[in-house]
Protein backbone atom coordinates (compact mmCIF):
# COMPACT_ATOMS: atom_id res chain seq x y z
CA UNK A 1 0.00 0.00 0.00
CA UNK A 2 2.94 2.27 0.74
CA UNK A 3 4.39 1.69 -2.72
CA UNK A 4 1.02 1.76 -4.48
CA UNK A 5 -0.11 5.01 -2.86
CA UNK A 6 3.46 6.40 -2.98
CA UNK A 7 2.33 8.87 -5.63
CA UNK A 8 0.65 10.89 -2.87
CA UNK A 9 3.94 11.78 -1.14
CA UNK A 10 5.60 12.18 -4.50
CA UNK A 11 3.05 14.68 -5.81
CA UNK A 12 3.07 16.64 -2.55
CA UNK A 13 6.81 17.23 -2.99
CA UNK A 14 6.38 18.05 -6.69
CA UNK A 15 3.66 20.61 -5.90
CA UNK A 16 5.83 22.05 -3.12
CA UNK A 17 8.70 22.56 -5.58
CA UNK A 18 6.27 24.06 -8.12
CA UNK A 19 4.87 26.50 -5.53
CA UNK A 20 8.33 27.42 -4.27
CA UNK A 21 7.84 26.33 -0.66
CA UNK A 22 11.56 25.68 -0.09
CA UNK A 23 12.65 28.84 -1.89
CA UNK A 24 10.23 30.86 0.26
CA UNK A 25 11.41 29.24 3.50
CA UNK A 26 15.08 29.66 2.57
CA UNK A 27 14.57 33.35 3.27
CA UNK A 28 13.35 32.90 6.83
CA UNK A 29 11.06 30.73 8.95
CA UNK A 30 7.40 31.62 8.48
CA UNK A 31 4.15 31.00 10.31
CA UNK A 32 1.16 29.16 8.85
CA UNK A 33 -0.90 32.30 8.04
CA UNK A 34 2.12 34.02 6.51
CA UNK A 35 3.06 31.02 4.31
CA UNK A 36 -0.57 30.49 3.33
CA UNK A 37 -0.70 34.04 2.02
CA UNK A 38 2.69 34.13 0.35
CA UNK A 39 2.32 30.77 -1.41
CA UNK A 40 -1.30 31.38 -2.39
CA UNK A 41 -2.56 28.31 -0.53
CA UNK A 42 -6.23 27.88 0.32
CA UNK A 43 -6.85 27.81 4.09
CA UNK A 44 -8.51 24.40 3.78
CA UNK A 45 -5.36 22.78 2.40
CA UNK A 46 -2.46 24.79 3.81
CA UNK A 47 -1.96 23.07 7.14
CA UNK A 48 -2.25 19.50 5.86
CA UNK A 49 0.07 20.27 2.96
CA UNK A 50 2.78 21.86 5.10
CA UNK A 51 2.49 19.29 7.88
CA UNK A 52 2.75 16.50 5.27
CA UNK A 53 6.07 18.07 4.20
CA UNK A 54 7.07 18.00 7.89
CA UNK A 55 6.12 14.33 8.25
CA UNK A 56 8.03 13.52 5.05
CA UNK A 57 11.18 15.00 6.63
CA UNK A 58 11.58 17.94 4.23
CA UNK A 59 10.78 20.85 6.53
CA UNK A 60 10.18 21.21 10.27
CA UNK A 61 7.77 23.09 12.47
CA UNK A 62 9.20 24.68 15.62
CA UNK A 63 6.65 26.50 17.72
CA UNK A 64 4.46 28.31 15.21
CA UNK A 65 7.04 28.52 12.46
CA UNK A 66 7.91 26.31 9.54
CA UNK A 67 11.54 26.18 8.37
CA UNK A 68 13.56 24.23 5.81
CA UNK A 69 15.55 21.24 6.99
CA UNK A 70 19.15 21.45 5.69
CA UNK A 71 18.85 19.06 2.68
CA UNK A 72 15.73 20.81 1.34
CA UNK A 73 17.36 24.18 1.96
CA UNK A 74 20.47 23.16 0.02
CA UNK A 75 18.91 21.22 -2.86
CA UNK A 76 15.45 22.73 -3.28
CA UNK A 77 15.92 26.50 -2.89
CA UNK A 78 15.64 27.71 -6.48
CA UNK A 79 18.01 30.61 -5.83
CA UNK A 80 20.95 28.43 -4.75
CA UNK A 81 23.42 27.02 -7.30
CA UNK A 82 22.98 23.64 -5.57
CA UNK A 83 19.30 23.53 -6.65
CA UNK A 84 18.39 20.14 -8.16
CA UNK A 85 14.65 20.71 -8.41
CA UNK A 86 14.63 21.12 -12.21
CA UNK A 87 14.05 17.40 -12.68
CA UNK A 88 11.20 17.57 -10.15
CA UNK A 89 9.70 20.55 -12.00
CA UNK A 90 9.80 18.52 -15.22
CA UNK A 91 8.36 15.50 -13.42
CA UNK A 92 5.56 17.72 -12.14
CA UNK A 93 4.73 19.43 -15.44
CA UNK A 94 5.19 16.53 -17.82
CA UNK A 95 6.05 13.10 -16.46
CA UNK A 96 3.43 12.64 -13.74
CA UNK A 97 0.62 13.01 -16.26
CA UNK A 98 2.36 10.91 -18.91
CA UNK A 99 3.01 8.10 -16.45
CA UNK A 100 -0.76 7.88 -15.90
CA UNK A 101 -0.67 6.08 -19.29
CA UNK A 102 1.99 3.57 -18.26
CA UNK A 103 -0.33 0.62 -18.94
CA UNK A 104 -0.79 1.78 -22.54
CA UNK A 105 2.99 2.09 -22.91
CA UNK A 106 3.45 -1.42 -21.50
CA UNK A 107 0.92 -2.85 -23.95
CA UNK A 108 2.06 -0.94 -27.05
CA UNK A 109 5.74 -0.15 -26.52
CA UNK A 110 4.93 3.42 -27.64
CA UNK A 111 5.92 6.69 -25.93
CA UNK A 112 3.20 8.50 -23.96
CA UNK A 113 4.45 12.10 -24.03
CA UNK A 114 4.08 15.02 -26.45
CA UNK A 115 4.77 12.59 -29.32
CA UNK A 116 1.15 11.48 -28.96
CA UNK A 117 0.00 14.98 -29.86
CA UNK A 118 2.21 15.26 -32.93
CA UNK A 119 5.76 16.15 -31.91
CA UNK A 120 8.18 13.89 -33.79
CA UNK A 121 10.20 13.09 -30.67
CA UNK A 122 10.70 14.34 -27.13
CA UNK A 123 13.83 16.30 -27.97
CA UNK A 124 12.11 18.20 -30.81
CA UNK A 125 9.44 19.15 -28.30
CA UNK A 126 11.92 20.21 -25.60
CA UNK A 127 14.25 22.06 -27.99
CA UNK A 128 11.49 23.94 -29.88
CA UNK A 129 10.88 26.55 -27.19
CA UNK A 130 13.87 28.40 -25.64
CA UNK A 131 12.33 28.64 -22.16
CA UNK A 132 11.33 24.98 -22.19
CA UNK A 133 14.81 24.05 -23.40
CA UNK A 134 16.44 26.08 -20.62
CA UNK A 135 14.23 24.32 -18.06
CA UNK A 136 15.11 20.90 -19.45
CA UNK A 137 18.84 21.62 -19.57
CA UNK A 138 18.84 22.95 -16.00
CA UNK A 139 16.91 19.87 -14.92
CA UNK A 140 19.61 17.71 -16.51
CA UNK A 141 22.35 19.64 -14.68
CA UNK A 142 20.46 19.18 -11.43
CA UNK A 143 20.28 15.39 -11.65
CA UNK A 144 23.85 15.08 -12.99
CA UNK A 145 25.88 17.43 -10.82
CA UNK A 146 26.68 14.95 -8.06
CA UNK A 147 27.93 12.35 -10.53
CA UNK A 148 29.76 14.99 -12.58
CA UNK A 149 31.80 16.15 -9.58
CA UNK A 150 32.84 12.59 -8.76
CA UNK A 151 33.95 11.96 -12.35
CA UNK A 152 35.89 15.23 -12.28
CA UNK A 153 37.83 14.11 -9.21
CA UNK A 154 37.95 10.32 -9.49
CA UNK A 155 38.96 9.71 -13.11
CA UNK A 156 42.76 9.93 -13.81
CA UNK A 157 42.56 13.21 -15.76
CA UNK A 158 46.30 13.76 -15.29
CA UNK A 159 46.84 11.26 -18.12
CA UNK A 160 44.81 13.35 -20.59
CA UNK A 161 44.66 16.88 -21.99
CA UNK A 162 41.36 17.28 -23.85
CA UNK A 163 37.79 16.12 -23.38
CA UNK A 164 34.59 16.38 -25.35
CA UNK A 165 31.24 16.02 -23.63
CA UNK A 166 28.68 14.62 -26.04
CA UNK A 167 25.07 15.77 -25.53
CA UNK A 168 26.48 18.34 -23.14
CA UNK A 169 23.27 20.27 -22.32
CA UNK A 170 24.17 23.14 -19.98
CA UNK A 171 27.70 21.75 -19.85
CA UNK A 172 27.91 20.86 -16.20
CA UNK A 173 30.06 17.74 -16.73
CA UNK A 174 32.73 19.48 -18.82
CA UNK A 175 32.56 22.47 -16.44
CA UNK A 176 33.14 20.27 -13.39
CA UNK A 177 36.01 18.46 -15.15
CA UNK A 178 37.65 21.74 -16.15
CA UNK A 179 37.16 23.26 -12.68
CA UNK A 180 38.83 20.30 -10.97
CA UNK A 181 41.56 19.86 -13.60
CA UNK A 182 43.11 23.16 -14.72
CA UNK A 183 45.22 21.42 -17.38
CA UNK A 184 42.16 20.10 -19.25
CA UNK A 185 40.53 21.99 -22.08
CA UNK A 186 37.16 20.83 -23.28
CA UNK A 187 34.36 20.99 -25.77
CA UNK A 188 30.64 20.69 -25.18
CA UNK A 189 28.87 19.15 -28.18
CA UNK A 190 25.10 19.50 -28.62
CA UNK A 191 22.48 20.92 -30.99
CA UNK A 192 22.90 24.59 -31.94
CA UNK A 193 19.91 25.72 -29.85
CA UNK A 194 21.91 24.83 -26.74
CA UNK A 195 24.81 27.23 -27.47
CA UNK A 196 23.65 30.37 -25.58
CA UNK A 197 22.62 28.41 -22.51
CA UNK A 198 25.90 26.47 -22.49
CA UNK A 199 28.02 29.58 -23.02
CA UNK A 200 26.29 31.46 -20.24
CA UNK A 201 26.89 28.57 -17.84
CA UNK A 202 30.57 28.25 -18.81
CA UNK A 203 31.07 32.01 -18.43
CA UNK A 204 29.46 31.96 -14.97
CA UNK A 205 32.17 29.49 -13.97
CA UNK A 206 34.94 31.61 -15.53
CA UNK A 207 35.90 28.87 -17.98
CA UNK A 208 35.25 30.51 -21.36
CA UNK A 209 38.94 30.38 -22.27
CA UNK A 210 39.21 26.59 -21.81
CA UNK A 211 35.72 25.29 -22.57
CA UNK A 212 33.98 25.90 -25.87
CA UNK A 213 30.83 24.81 -27.67
CA UNK A 214 30.55 22.78 -30.89
CA UNK A 215 27.14 22.68 -32.57
CA UNK A 216 25.77 19.62 -34.33
CA UNK A 217 23.83 16.38 -34.15
CA UNK A 218 25.85 13.47 -32.82
CA UNK A 219 24.08 11.23 -35.31
CA UNK A 220 24.86 13.38 -38.37
CA UNK A 221 28.45 14.46 -37.65
CA UNK A 222 31.61 12.73 -36.46
CA UNK A 223 32.30 13.57 -32.80
CA UNK A 224 34.97 16.24 -32.18
CA UNK A 225 38.40 14.70 -31.57
CA UNK A 226 39.64 14.56 -27.96
CA UNK A 227 41.57 12.35 -25.53
CA UNK A 228 38.41 11.55 -23.59
CA UNK A 229 34.79 11.40 -24.73
CA UNK A 230 32.10 11.65 -22.03
CA UNK A 231 28.38 10.88 -22.32
CA UNK A 232 26.26 11.56 -19.22
CA UNK A 233 22.68 10.27 -19.30
CA UNK A 234 22.89 10.03 -23.11
CA UNK A 235 23.10 6.38 -24.12
CA UNK A 236 19.87 5.44 -22.34
CA UNK A 237 17.87 7.78 -24.59
CA UNK A 238 18.52 5.65 -27.69
CA UNK A 239 17.80 2.22 -29.12
CA UNK A 240 20.39 -0.54 -29.40
CA UNK A 241 21.67 0.36 -32.87
CA UNK A 242 21.94 4.04 -31.95
CA UNK A 243 23.75 3.20 -28.71
CA UNK A 244 26.28 1.10 -30.63
CA UNK A 245 26.69 3.84 -33.24
CA UNK A 246 27.46 6.44 -30.56
CA UNK A 247 30.01 4.12 -28.95
CA UNK A 248 31.70 3.54 -32.34
CA UNK A 249 31.77 7.28 -32.96
CA UNK A 250 33.43 7.80 -29.59
CA UNK A 251 35.99 5.13 -30.50
CA UNK A 252 36.74 6.99 -33.74
CA UNK A 253 37.13 10.34 -31.95
CA UNK A 254 39.82 9.33 -29.48
CA UNK A 255 43.47 8.26 -29.93
CA UNK A 256 44.83 4.86 -28.77
CA UNK A 257 44.96 5.08 -24.99
CA UNK A 258 42.04 7.52 -25.01
CA UNK A 259 38.91 6.87 -22.98
CA UNK A 260 35.14 6.84 -23.28
CA UNK A 261 33.22 7.49 -20.07
CA UNK A 262 29.50 6.75 -20.29
CA UNK A 263 27.29 7.06 -17.25
CA UNK A 264 23.65 6.38 -16.54
CA UNK A 265 21.63 4.66 -13.81
CA UNK A 266 23.40 1.46 -14.79
CA UNK A 267 21.30 -1.59 -13.92
CA UNK A 268 22.99 -4.38 -11.92
CA UNK A 269 23.86 -7.37 -14.14
CA UNK A 270 21.26 -9.56 -12.41
CA UNK A 271 18.58 -6.89 -12.98
CA UNK A 272 17.10 -7.32 -9.53
CA UNK A 273 18.58 -4.54 -7.38
CA UNK A 274 18.78 -1.12 -9.04
CA UNK A 275 15.06 -0.37 -9.02
CA UNK A 276 15.72 3.25 -10.00
CA UNK A 277 17.63 2.15 -13.12
CA UNK A 278 14.80 -0.18 -14.15
CA UNK A 279 12.21 2.54 -13.51
CA UNK A 280 14.35 5.02 -15.46
CA UNK A 281 14.26 2.54 -18.33
CA UNK A 282 10.46 2.59 -18.15
CA UNK A 283 10.69 6.39 -18.18
CA UNK A 284 12.58 6.01 -21.47
CA UNK A 285 9.64 3.89 -22.66
CA UNK A 286 7.32 6.80 -21.78
CA UNK A 287 9.65 9.41 -23.32
CA UNK A 288 11.34 7.85 -26.38
CA UNK A 289 10.63 5.48 -29.23
CA UNK A 290 13.48 3.08 -28.51
CA UNK A 291 15.50 4.17 -25.47
CA UNK A 292 16.25 1.88 -22.54
CA UNK A 293 18.60 1.67 -19.60
CA UNK A 294 21.12 -1.16 -19.50
CA UNK A 295 23.40 -3.26 -17.35
CA UNK A 296 27.13 -2.75 -16.96
CA UNK A 297 27.73 -6.10 -18.70
CA UNK A 298 25.68 -5.03 -21.73
CA UNK A 299 27.47 -1.70 -22.03
CA UNK A 300 30.88 -3.34 -21.72
CA UNK A 301 30.01 -5.85 -24.44
CA UNK A 302 28.99 -3.01 -26.83
CA UNK A 303 32.26 -1.26 -26.04
CA UNK A 304 34.32 -4.40 -26.66
CA UNK A 305 32.42 -4.91 -29.92
CA UNK A 306 33.42 -1.36 -31.01
CA UNK A 307 37.10 -2.23 -30.44
CA UNK A 308 37.86 -0.87 -26.97
CA UNK A 309 40.54 -3.01 -25.32
CA UNK A 310 39.70 -2.46 -21.65
CA UNK A 311 36.48 -1.64 -19.81
CA UNK A 312 35.51 -1.20 -16.18
CA UNK A 313 32.57 0.02 -14.10
CA UNK A 314 32.78 2.43 -11.18
CA UNK A 315 29.92 3.47 -8.97
CA UNK A 316 29.33 7.23 -8.78
CA UNK A 317 26.47 8.26 -6.50
CA UNK A 318 22.94 7.02 -5.83
CA UNK A 319 21.80 4.88 -8.75
CA UNK A 320 24.47 6.18 -11.17
CA UNK A 321 27.61 4.32 -12.26
CA UNK A 322 30.09 5.06 -15.04
CA UNK A 323 31.40 2.61 -17.58
CA UNK A 324 34.95 3.45 -18.64
CA UNK A 325 36.40 2.09 -21.89
CA UNK A 326 40.05 2.48 -22.96
CA UNK A 327 40.96 2.34 -26.66
Amino acid sequence: MQIGLGFWASKVLLSAVEMGVFTELAGRPESLPELTGRLGLHPRSARDFLDALVALGLIERRGDEYRNLPPADFFLDRRKPSYVGGMLEMANHRLFGFWNNLTTALRTGEPQNEVKSGDPDVFSHLYADPERLRGFLKAMSGISKGANRIIASKFPWKNYKTAVDVGTAQGDLIVQIALANPHISGIGFDLAEVAPIFEEYVAEHGLSSRVSFRAGSFFDLPLPKADVVTMGHILHDWDLEQKKLLIRKAFDAIPPGGALIAYDSIIDDDRCENAFGLLMSLNMLIETSGGFDYTGAECQSWMKEAGFRETRIEHLVGPDSMVIAIK
Copy 2:
Protein backbone atom coordinates in the same frame (compact mmCIF):
# COMPACT_ATOMS: atom_id res chain seq x y z
CA MET B 1 14.66 12.61 -5.69
CA GLN B 2 13.42 9.29 -4.34
CA ILE B 3 10.29 10.90 -2.93
CA GLY B 4 9.78 13.22 -5.91
CA LEU B 5 10.08 10.44 -8.51
CA GLY B 6 8.32 7.99 -6.19
CA PHE B 7 5.34 8.01 -8.55
CA TRP B 8 7.33 5.79 -10.94
CA ALA B 9 7.45 2.83 -8.52
CA SER B 10 3.91 3.57 -7.45
CA LYS B 11 2.49 3.51 -10.98
CA VAL B 12 4.42 0.35 -11.87
CA LEU B 13 2.67 -1.45 -9.00
CA LEU B 14 -0.71 0.07 -9.93
CA SER B 15 -0.33 -1.08 -13.55
CA ALA B 16 0.79 -4.53 -12.34
CA VAL B 17 -2.39 -4.84 -10.26
CA GLU B 18 -4.47 -3.58 -13.23
CA MET B 19 -2.89 -6.12 -15.58
CA GLY B 20 -3.25 -8.95 -13.06
CA VAL B 21 0.45 -9.83 -12.76
CA PHE B 22 0.11 -11.23 -9.25
CA THR B 23 -3.12 -13.08 -10.04
CA GLU B 24 -1.43 -14.65 -13.06
CA LEU B 25 1.67 -15.66 -11.09
CA ALA B 26 -0.41 -17.05 -8.21
CA GLY B 27 -1.24 -19.93 -10.53
CA ARG B 28 2.35 -20.93 -11.19
CA PRO B 29 5.79 -19.46 -11.97
CA GLU B 30 6.09 -18.30 -15.56
CA SER B 31 8.90 -17.41 -17.94
CA LEU B 32 9.33 -14.00 -19.59
CA PRO B 33 7.89 -15.02 -23.02
CA GLU B 34 4.96 -16.77 -21.39
CA LEU B 35 4.10 -13.84 -19.12
CA THR B 36 4.58 -11.37 -21.96
CA GLY B 37 1.96 -13.23 -23.96
CA ARG B 38 -0.51 -13.89 -21.19
CA LEU B 39 -0.45 -10.34 -19.82
CA GLY B 40 -0.47 -8.72 -23.25
CA LEU B 41 2.81 -6.89 -22.68
CA HIS B 42 4.84 -5.44 -25.55
CA PRO B 43 8.28 -7.09 -25.89
CA ARG B 44 9.97 -3.70 -25.54
CA SER B 45 8.54 -3.14 -22.08
CA ALA B 46 8.00 -6.59 -20.60
CA ARG B 47 11.42 -7.29 -19.13
CA ASP B 48 11.96 -3.86 -17.55
CA PHE B 49 8.45 -3.91 -16.11
CA LEU B 50 8.78 -7.36 -14.54
CA ASP B 51 12.34 -6.80 -13.34
CA ALA B 52 11.23 -3.49 -11.76
CA LEU B 53 8.65 -5.52 -9.80
CA VAL B 54 11.53 -7.82 -8.77
CA ALA B 55 13.70 -4.89 -7.65
CA LEU B 56 10.73 -3.43 -5.73
CA GLY B 57 10.50 -6.69 -3.75
CA LEU B 58 7.08 -7.79 -5.02
CA ILE B 59 8.03 -10.80 -7.14
CA GLU B 60 11.26 -12.76 -7.69
CA ARG B 61 13.03 -14.27 -10.65
CA ARG B 62 14.60 -17.71 -10.15
CA GLY B 63 16.36 -19.07 -13.20
CA ASP B 64 14.11 -18.13 -16.08
CA GLU B 65 10.91 -17.94 -14.10
CA TYR B 66 9.10 -15.16 -12.32
CA ARG B 67 7.09 -16.02 -9.22
CA ASN B 68 5.14 -14.11 -6.55
CA LEU B 69 6.83 -13.37 -3.26
CA PRO B 70 4.55 -14.39 -0.36
CA PRO B 71 3.11 -10.93 0.53
CA ALA B 72 2.15 -10.18 -3.10
CA ASP B 73 0.74 -13.68 -3.45
CA PHE B 74 -1.40 -13.25 -0.34
CA PHE B 75 -2.57 -9.65 -0.76
CA LEU B 76 -2.53 -9.06 -4.52
CA ASP B 77 -3.95 -12.23 -6.05
CA ARG B 78 -7.46 -11.13 -7.05
CA ARG B 79 -8.83 -14.64 -6.52
CA LYS B 80 -7.86 -14.86 -2.84
CA PRO B 81 -10.19 -13.53 -0.11
CA SER B 82 -7.13 -11.76 1.34
CA TYR B 83 -6.89 -9.54 -1.79
CA VAL B 84 -6.45 -5.86 -0.84
CA GLY B 85 -5.80 -4.54 -4.34
CA GLY B 86 -9.20 -2.87 -4.72
CA MET B 87 -7.83 0.36 -3.28
CA LEU B 88 -4.89 0.15 -5.70
CA GLU B 89 -7.30 -0.43 -8.60
CA MET B 90 -9.19 2.69 -7.58
CA ALA B 91 -5.92 4.60 -7.16
CA ASN B 92 -4.95 3.50 -10.66
CA HIS B 93 -8.25 4.32 -12.37
CA ARG B 94 -9.16 7.49 -10.56
CA LEU B 95 -6.79 8.95 -7.99
CA PHE B 96 -3.49 9.00 -9.87
CA GLY B 97 -4.96 11.24 -12.56
CA PHE B 98 -6.85 13.43 -10.09
CA TRP B 99 -3.73 13.93 -7.98
CA ASN B 100 -2.04 15.44 -11.03
CA ASN B 101 -4.19 18.48 -10.15
CA LEU B 102 -3.03 18.67 -6.53
CA THR B 103 -1.66 22.19 -6.99
CA THR B 104 -5.08 23.41 -8.12
CA ALA B 105 -6.65 21.74 -5.09
CA LEU B 106 -4.08 23.39 -2.81
CA ARG B 107 -4.81 26.82 -4.30
CA THR B 108 -8.62 26.55 -4.45
CA GLY B 109 -9.59 24.11 -1.70
CA GLU B 110 -11.85 22.43 -4.30
CA PRO B 111 -12.09 18.69 -5.10
CA GLN B 112 -10.38 17.49 -8.29
CA ASN B 113 -12.34 14.34 -9.09
CA GLU B 114 -15.55 13.61 -11.05
CA VAL B 115 -17.16 16.58 -9.28
CA LYS B 116 -15.29 18.79 -11.77
CA SER B 117 -17.23 17.19 -14.62
CA GLY B 118 -20.60 17.65 -13.00
CA ASP B 119 -21.19 14.92 -10.41
CA PRO B 120 -22.57 16.52 -7.23
CA ASP B 121 -20.14 14.60 -4.99
CA VAL B 122 -17.82 11.62 -5.08
CA PHE B 123 -20.34 9.27 -3.48
CA SER B 124 -23.05 10.10 -6.04
CA HIS B 125 -20.52 9.23 -8.72
CA LEU B 126 -19.43 5.99 -7.07
CA TYR B 127 -22.95 4.87 -6.15
CA ALA B 128 -24.52 5.66 -9.54
CA ASP B 129 -23.17 2.57 -11.33
CA PRO B 130 -23.54 -0.87 -9.69
CA GLU B 131 -20.21 -2.19 -11.00
CA ARG B 132 -18.35 0.93 -9.95
CA LEU B 133 -20.05 0.75 -6.53
CA ARG B 134 -19.04 -2.88 -6.11
CA GLY B 135 -15.43 -1.98 -6.96
CA PHE B 136 -15.43 0.88 -4.47
CA LEU B 137 -16.96 -1.18 -1.69
CA LYS B 138 -14.47 -4.02 -2.26
CA ALA B 139 -11.65 -1.48 -2.23
CA MET B 140 -12.89 -0.22 1.12
CA SER B 141 -12.99 -3.79 2.51
CA GLY B 142 -9.45 -4.32 1.27
CA ILE B 143 -7.96 -1.36 3.11
CA SER B 144 -10.04 -1.96 6.24
CA LYS B 145 -9.82 -5.70 6.82
CA GLY B 146 -6.63 -5.65 8.90
CA ALA B 147 -8.00 -2.99 11.23
CA ASN B 148 -11.42 -4.66 11.34
CA ARG B 149 -9.99 -7.96 12.58
CA ILE B 150 -8.07 -6.21 15.34
CA ILE B 151 -11.20 -4.36 16.48
CA ALA B 152 -13.12 -7.64 16.43
CA SER B 153 -10.61 -9.26 18.79
CA LYS B 154 -9.26 -6.37 20.87
CA PHE B 155 -12.40 -4.47 21.90
CA PRO B 156 -14.23 -5.91 24.98
CA TRP B 157 -17.22 -7.20 23.02
CA LYS B 158 -18.20 -9.47 25.93
CA ASN B 159 -19.71 -6.39 27.59
CA TYR B 160 -22.09 -5.77 24.69
CA LYS B 161 -24.76 -7.57 22.67
CA THR B 162 -25.49 -5.49 19.58
CA ALA B 163 -23.53 -3.33 17.18
CA VAL B 164 -24.37 -1.11 14.24
CA ASP B 165 -21.74 -0.29 11.65
CA VAL B 166 -22.43 3.11 10.11
CA GLY B 167 -21.39 3.56 6.46
CA THR B 168 -20.88 -0.20 6.40
CA ALA B 169 -20.03 -0.66 2.69
CA GLN B 170 -19.55 -4.39 2.04
CA GLY B 171 -19.91 -4.96 5.78
CA ASP B 172 -16.47 -6.29 6.55
CA LEU B 173 -16.24 -4.65 10.00
CA ILE B 174 -19.57 -5.99 11.27
CA VAL B 175 -18.77 -9.36 9.64
CA GLN B 176 -15.39 -9.59 11.41
CA ILE B 177 -16.98 -8.57 14.73
CA ALA B 178 -19.73 -11.18 14.35
CA LEU B 179 -17.27 -13.90 13.27
CA ALA B 180 -15.04 -13.33 16.32
CA ASN B 181 -17.92 -12.81 18.77
CA PRO B 182 -20.75 -15.31 18.30
CA HIS B 183 -22.93 -13.55 20.92
CA ILE B 184 -23.03 -10.30 18.93
CA SER B 185 -25.75 -9.50 16.45
CA GLY B 186 -25.26 -6.57 14.16
CA ILE B 187 -26.62 -4.19 11.60
CA GLY B 188 -24.86 -2.64 8.63
CA PHE B 189 -26.23 0.82 7.83
CA ASP B 190 -25.63 2.38 4.42
CA LEU B 191 -27.48 3.71 1.35
CA ALA B 192 -29.99 1.33 -0.25
CA GLU B 193 -27.77 0.68 -3.31
CA VAL B 194 -25.34 -1.15 -1.03
CA ALA B 195 -27.88 -3.78 0.15
CA PRO B 196 -27.26 -6.57 -2.41
CA ILE B 197 -23.47 -6.30 -2.14
CA PHE B 198 -23.62 -6.28 1.66
CA GLU B 199 -26.04 -9.19 1.80
CA GLU B 200 -23.95 -11.29 -0.55
CA TYR B 201 -20.85 -10.68 1.57
CA VAL B 202 -22.65 -11.53 4.82
CA ALA B 203 -24.10 -14.71 3.30
CA GLU B 204 -20.64 -15.78 2.08
CA HIS B 205 -19.54 -15.67 5.71
CA GLY B 206 -22.61 -17.60 6.92
CA LEU B 207 -23.80 -14.71 9.06
CA SER B 208 -27.18 -13.89 7.53
CA SER B 209 -29.02 -14.89 10.71
CA ARG B 210 -27.09 -12.47 12.94
CA VAL B 211 -26.14 -9.62 10.62
CA SER B 212 -28.71 -7.58 8.70
CA PHE B 213 -28.81 -4.46 6.53
CA ARG B 214 -30.58 -1.19 7.24
CA ALA B 215 -30.97 1.24 4.34
CA GLY B 216 -30.74 4.99 4.71
CA SER B 217 -28.63 8.12 4.76
CA PHE B 218 -26.85 8.69 8.04
CA PHE B 219 -27.49 12.41 7.62
CA ASP B 220 -31.25 12.09 7.05
CA LEU B 221 -32.18 9.37 9.57
CA PRO B 222 -31.36 8.66 13.20
CA LEU B 223 -28.83 5.84 13.48
CA PRO B 224 -30.23 2.39 14.37
CA LYS B 225 -30.08 1.73 18.12
CA ALA B 226 -27.32 -0.58 19.38
CA ASP B 227 -24.89 -1.07 22.29
CA VAL B 228 -21.95 -0.12 20.10
CA VAL B 229 -21.76 2.15 17.04
CA THR B 230 -18.77 1.72 14.73
CA MET B 231 -17.55 4.04 11.95
CA GLY B 232 -14.58 2.85 9.91
CA HIS B 233 -13.00 5.38 7.55
CA ILE B 234 -16.21 7.45 7.70
CA LEU B 235 -15.58 10.57 9.76
CA HIS B 236 -12.68 11.75 7.57
CA ASP B 237 -15.02 12.05 4.56
CA TRP B 238 -16.94 14.95 6.11
CA ASP B 239 -16.47 18.52 7.26
CA LEU B 240 -16.30 19.57 10.90
CA GLU B 241 -20.03 20.18 11.38
CA GLN B 242 -20.90 16.87 9.70
CA LYS B 243 -18.32 15.02 11.81
CA LYS B 244 -19.82 16.48 14.99
CA LEU B 245 -23.35 15.65 13.80
CA LEU B 246 -22.39 12.00 13.18
CA ILE B 247 -20.79 11.77 16.64
CA ARG B 248 -23.93 13.25 18.25
CA LYS B 249 -26.10 10.77 16.33
CA ALA B 250 -23.94 7.92 17.60
CA PHE B 251 -24.36 9.26 21.14
CA ASP B 252 -28.13 9.25 20.67
CA ALA B 253 -28.15 5.69 19.29
CA ILE B 254 -26.42 3.98 22.23
CA PRO B 255 -27.46 3.43 25.87
CA PRO B 256 -25.45 4.74 28.86
CA GLY B 257 -22.32 2.56 28.99
CA GLY B 258 -22.52 2.03 25.23
CA ALA B 259 -19.57 2.79 22.98
CA LEU B 260 -18.69 4.60 19.78
CA ILE B 261 -15.66 3.27 17.93
CA ALA B 262 -14.40 5.54 15.15
CA TYR B 263 -11.29 4.68 13.21
CA ASP B 264 -9.28 6.39 10.50
CA SER B 265 -5.62 7.10 9.79
CA ILE B 266 -5.60 9.19 12.94
CA ILE B 267 -2.93 11.91 12.78
CA ASP B 268 -0.55 12.20 15.75
CA ASP B 269 -1.43 15.17 17.97
CA ASP B 270 1.77 17.01 16.95
CA ARG B 271 0.95 16.48 13.26
CA CYS B 272 4.53 15.64 12.34
CA GLU B 273 4.73 11.84 12.24
CA ASN B 274 1.80 10.09 10.56
CA ALA B 275 2.61 11.11 6.98
CA PHE B 276 0.02 8.68 5.63
CA GLY B 277 -2.74 10.31 7.73
CA LEU B 278 -1.77 13.77 6.48
CA LEU B 279 -1.61 12.55 2.87
CA MET B 280 -4.98 10.83 3.33
CA SER B 281 -6.34 14.18 4.46
CA LEU B 282 -5.06 15.70 1.19
CA ASN B 283 -6.77 12.79 -0.59
CA MET B 284 -9.99 13.99 1.09
CA LEU B 285 -9.22 17.44 -0.36
CA ILE B 286 -9.02 15.84 -3.82
CA GLU B 287 -12.14 13.73 -3.26
CA THR B 288 -14.59 15.73 -1.11
CA SER B 289 -15.79 19.27 -0.58
CA GLY B 290 -15.02 19.44 3.13
CA GLY B 291 -13.51 16.18 4.40
CA PHE B 292 -10.26 15.99 6.33
CA ASP B 293 -8.36 13.61 8.57
CA TYR B 294 -7.81 14.58 12.20
CA THR B 295 -5.78 14.02 15.31
CA GLY B 296 -6.77 11.84 18.25
CA ALA B 297 -7.02 14.94 20.43
CA GLU B 298 -9.43 16.61 18.00
CA CYS B 299 -11.65 13.55 17.79
CA GLN B 300 -11.71 13.13 21.56
CA SER B 301 -12.70 16.77 22.02
CA TRP B 302 -15.64 16.36 19.59
CA MET B 303 -16.72 13.24 21.47
CA LYS B 304 -16.53 14.99 24.86
CA GLU B 305 -18.51 17.89 23.39
CA ALA B 306 -21.24 15.42 22.33
CA GLY B 307 -21.50 14.19 25.93
CA PHE B 308 -19.36 11.03 26.00
CA ARG B 309 -17.84 10.60 29.45
CA GLU B 310 -14.68 8.63 28.61
CA THR B 311 -12.51 8.46 25.52
CA ARG B 312 -9.29 6.66 24.57
CA ILE B 313 -7.17 5.94 21.52
CA GLU B 314 -5.77 2.55 20.54
CA HIS B 315 -3.48 1.87 17.63
CA LEU B 316 -4.75 -0.75 15.18
CA VAL B 317 -2.38 -1.47 12.28
CA GLY B 318 -0.20 0.62 9.95
CA PRO B 319 -1.43 4.21 10.01
CA ASP B 320 -4.87 3.38 11.50
CA SER B 321 -5.94 3.95 15.10
CA MET B 322 -9.37 3.80 16.73
CA VAL B 323 -10.90 6.36 19.03
CA ILE B 324 -13.24 4.76 21.57
CA ALA B 325 -15.84 6.83 23.41
CA ILE B 326 -18.02 5.52 26.24
CA LYS B 327 -21.40 7.17 26.96
